[in-house]
């Protein structure tokens, strides 16, 4: 249909919103409560536009174009209205931008600058509200909340957890847990998707930089660090690199500059995870027992099952996540090798994930009297530390990780994207079943951002029904189908965050689909380029088993690298 935007006549397909129509011709309308894939709520009113012939301004996110519509996106009236709305928000908002975690990445701040808000026209009436620090992963500051509802909707619709909701009404409205208790009293799974969509600093991750800095300057501590596969293809975005660049070498160099004495890669232990899990899968298939096997590397997913589907706890792989396996190996295998007293090791991990902070604190994650991991930093915190140390990432010469926990197959790198764990596991499982390395290479059917991907493989007469899931609304659907007997699988990979770790709750703010796709493509490119593409080809992993663990699922493996789960209450 023909419409007019700012006096320009354009043809548009029917059925799209004014917002989308304008975006398609590069006219950007500011939004605050808008989330691309969710039904527009119309609550912030920032996206209002003027329509010829209509008395009031309309929200472009929720109004569809009609034939002959005349739209004005930036008339005086519209800009005055947007400015007024912002000013009203600011009258209720704390002024401590300089001290806020979201300084420079806050959407409210950005809009105020764009709209030129320079006067405080309205009296301040913000009320001091208690900050919720109860969760190991996330910190909530209700006084910064602008009640846009994004976090509530993401928790409810994308993750189907609903740990937080709106309570009360009017000026008393608050986003909080049931009974307004701390996050740790609720069934929050710590995934941090809420923090990813929060436009202000109302929900941010718990900041552990202080602890790490303290350890780094402690002369008695040996500070070691590992970083997750997804991070090297993401971090560059924050330092001027093109999205999809792999800055692994520069990251390693940066970490050493900061004072980390040993830099390992979680991809190494991801290979170990595959050795253990693929063996576990083969064993369960042989016994016909506890199927489907469900992956266990996503701690948000684990807590989700513990709350909502405890009947499936036995289906979870008993493998720890790569982060935790690495932690356990560092303080046993590596400490022994280096003759370092484990109590002096301070083990840090850098993760694209906020739930990993929770995972590191789980009671089961203590091995031989030592916590596997001492501190977890998100990608965002890591970037902050690079800034703190005034390191120019682009100018660093790439360095290699430390042996023997630094080398990895490209299958391990695929852990960062949805479908990657399954691909890696099946490459090794196929070998374990057939002793033939040519059976499974790339599994292209897993390689997109769809939420549920089913695939049936046939390996030497064994039928393997698999499904790859990301986003817990999808996980719920799959589990319900299994409960109802509609579906049966042998192997299920679940990642809490839609798209996998590359879109994890600890990644840079703003879920830009294009950037996520670049990160995904980067991982597949790495896989294409590497020589060692399967976990069981990792020589250092082979050495680990030979010297220390004996074989996958050995007693030693079980003690160090496997864990248990428990049903949880909490609402």
């Amino acid at each position: 249909m023909k419409i007019e935007i700012n006096h320009q006549s354009i043809n548009m397909p029917a059925g799209i919103s004014i917002l989308d129509a304008c975006k398609s011709v590069n006219i950007n309308i500011p939004t605050l409560c808008y989330l691309e894939d969710l039904f527009p709520s119309g609550s912030c009113r920032m996206c209002v536009v003027e329509i010829a012939g209509m008395k009031n301004l309309v929200t472009s996110c929720s109004t569809q174009i009609t034939e002959g519509m005349k739209i004005f996106t930036h008339s005086n009236r519209v800009i005055a209205a947007r400015k007024s709305i912002l000013e009203l928000l600011l009258s209720n908002h704390p002024d401590d931008c300089l001290y806020c975690d979201k300084n420079n990445s806050c959407e409210l701040q950005k809009l105020s600058a764009e709209l030129g808000v320079r006067n405080r026209n309205f009296s301040k009436h913000s009320i001091e509200k208690e900050i919720d620090k109860s969760s190991p992963s996330l910190v909530r500051d209700p006084s910064k909340c602008i009640l846009c509802g994004r976090c509530v909707r993401v928790c409810e619709e994308r993750q189907t957890v609903s740990a937080i909701s709106f309570i009360k009404r009017g000026s008393q409205t608050k986003v909080t847990t049931a009974f307004d208790g701390g996050l740790n009293t609720s069934n929050c799974i710590n995934c941090g998707q809420c923090a990813m969509v929060c436009p202000t600093g109302a929900i941010v991750e718990k900041n552990n930089i202080k602890d790490v800095l303290a350890a780094l300057s402690d002369p008695d501590k040996v500070v070691v660090v590992q970083h997750a596969p997804a991070i090297s293809v993401t971090l560059g975005e924050l330092f001027g690199f093109k999205p999809g660049s792999d800055v692994n070498g520069q990251m390693t160099a940066a970490l050493r500059k900061m004072g980390f004495q040993f830099v390992f890669e979680t991809s190494f232990s991801a290979d170990v995870t595959i050795m253990e899990e693929a063996s576990e899968l083969v064993e369960r298939i042989k016994k016909g027992d506890k199927l489907p096997l469900m992956t266990s590397c996503s701690p948000g997913w684990i807590k989700f099952i513990e709350h909502f589907y405890p009947e499936f706890l036995n289906n979870l792989s008993t493998c720890k996540s790569p982060q935790q396996m690495m932690g356990a190996l560092i303080k046993s295998y590596w400490a022994k090798k280096k003759n370092i007293d484990s109590k002096n090791i301070y083990s840090v991990s850098i993760m694209p994930c906020t739930a990993k902070k929770f995972e590191a604190g789980r009671a089961e994650m203590i091995t031989g009297g030592f916590a596997d991991i001492d501190a977890v930093l998100t990608t965002r915190e890591f970037a902050k530390m690079i800034d703190m140390f005034n390191i120019n990432l682009a100018k660093l010469k790439p360095e290699n990780a430390d042996d023997p926990l630094g080398k990895h197959s490209s299958a391990a790198k695929l852990f960062g994207v949805t479908g990657g764990v399954a691909e890696a596991a099946l490459r090794t499982a196929a070998f374990l079943i057939t002793n033939d390395d040519s059976k499974v290479q790339e599994i292209r059917e897993y390689r997109d951002l769809e939420g549920i991907k089913e695939l049936t493989l046939n390996i030497n007469g064994i039928t393997l029904k698999t499904v790859v899931v990301s986003g817990l609304a999808n996980a719920r659907q799959v589990l319900d189908d299994i409960k109802r007997g509609i579906k049966q699988y042998h192997f299920i990979e679940v990642m809490t965050c839609p798209g996998g770790c590359i879109a994890g709750g600890g990644q840079p703010f703003g879920l830009d689909k294009n950037r996520i796709i670049s990160r995904m493509k980067a991982l597949y490119q790495i896989d294409k380029n590497e020589k060692i593409r399967k976990s069981h080809h990792n020589k250092d992993v082979a050495a680990l088993y030979e010297e220390f663990l004996m074989h996958p699922l050995s007693k030693q493996s079980h003690e160090l690298l496997h864990t248990s789960y428990k049903a949880r209450t909490g609402y």
Partner: protein, 657 residues
Amino acid sequence: MNNGLHSMENYLSGNNLEYFKSCLLPGVVNPTSKEVAEKLGTLKNDSVDKPYFFIGAGTCGLGAGALHTKKTLLGLLKSLHLNYEIIEVGCIGLCFAEPIMDVFLPGKNRLSFGHVTSDKVEPIVHALLNHDQAILSQALFQYQSDHLMKWENVPFMEEYPFLKKQKRIVLSQCGIINPLSIGQYIAQSGYVPLAKTLKELTPIEVCDIIEKSGLKGRGGGGFLTGKKWKFALSTPSDQKYFICNADEGDPGAFMDRAVVEGDPHKLLEGLIIAAYAIGASKAYIYIRAEYPLAIAHLEKAIDDLYLWKFLGSNIFDSGFDLDIIIKKGAGAFVCGEETALIHSIEGKRGMPRPRPPFPAVSGLHGKPSVINNVETLANIPAIILNGSDWFNSLGNNNSKGTKVFALSGKIKNTGLVEVPMGITMREIIFDIGGGPKNNKLFKAVQIGGPSGGCVTNEHLDINIDYDSLKTIGAMMGSGGLVVMDEDNCMVDVAKFFMDFIQRESCGKCIPCREGTKQMQNILEKITRGRISEKGNDALDRFKGILQLEELSNTIKETSLCGLGQSAPNPILSTLKYFRHEYEAHIFDRRCPSGVCSELVNFEIIEEKCKGCTLCAKKCPSSAIKGTPKAPHYINNEKCIKCGQCLKVCKFGAIIKN
């Protein structure tokens, strides 16, 4: 006498007719037509065979003591060993005269008495039974009839000043019939329109009739009802819903309450016809929990409808099924907004959503749903019965039919007023309402509740219809009219409405949630006491006024729903017509009407005070101190400015400044 049955016989037949007769005369096997006709005659109350007493027992009546009246009456009649009937009826709408008791003696017209507190019962009953004419001077009016004896010197109902200019369609039976008796409703030709609809008209024909009649939504929206129905009818769906909005959230409005309490079947009949017209098989009545009596009457009426098979499956053998479910509101004004109401029925927080899609296309559970107000639906049976031309002939060219107004505040005759559209405000306030009470000066009448504006002296001759009111910055709203006199402060009224909006705002959108808070702050600054007055505070306050106007624009233009869009109206209206009052508050720091408590002080003049302690005894907040025979003094911090002390002081020693 036969009309009710005769009409029904046209539409019912065979088993249905037999069942209908058996419902009318429960326990009687195979009642004859003559028996049925006689029963209908009795139900019609055209004449009685023994004394009938009708007690107005709507919420108003109860509040005025109607139950005590009834108890006294019962005791008296028992002691007189008389045959009698006592019937509790709803509100006739003469709130100023509650409790109301009607006496209907055999052979004579029904007689209506007002202010019948329990002490007045015996004198009235005795006088009437003993043919003592003197008591008739206390009567309000008598009901007209062509076959009963009239009372001397008692005006007929149609001549009674409060009722003379009214045209009662919606309220025609309120306060007159027993609301709990479906038989009485049928005797007045009730459910004949329904029968006619189901037997003779198709849904589109019904929509056409209603559209042609010109009926517009009486909840305040003013949208053409028939047109709205057609949107829903033309949207294909496996399930459609009809929702009656009986939330009546506007403070000052009680029209719907009276209809549901006093004549629930009229509403239900309109609802069933409406559901048929759009093809809905399920209807909801969303009624506020603050109306327990109305809910109880509605429940009984619906139970009876199922019993009589006027609800359920295959009504009147027409193939039309309908279930009606009552949903109680839980205390949220915003749930009067269509999409918020729908969310409330769905078990969610009552928050509105952007429209389009409109409820008629995608509403409750995503299905086509029409929401209409109680008064709108209560008009339907009469329109079907008398035709669209008849309805069209009432009112004026942009607003057809009648409107029920709830008249309250500083006026002599408070109550319910149903008048043809187009009548002037002056006629309502002065001719019907009797003008301000206590000889005070009329100041303004607030119309449209928290979304509306005020009509002042200069506009009293405005015609009340949907369009004219908008030209002076007011709106019809649901029909609440609150009269204010010289003792009311318009700034205080604006503050009152803003407090209300702030409390009732759902909080979803920024302009309403934050914008009205700012407006509330500004008004509070204006009415706050001079505790710590700084140099530029007055300028700040004046800036605040200018800001009010700017802010009002933003809120009106960008709010998500009607509550927000109309929230600034009371302020804009009072600012327009009473700017001088605002300025007195801002610059002179005084409240001309003596209302804003922080700007008003009561003082005892020492020289005049005799120390009689009467004021101290009467003070409800114990703010007056002093020893007997010595001058007393008022502690202004404890004083609640109720003015009791001023009233009781015999020595004029107390002044208000």
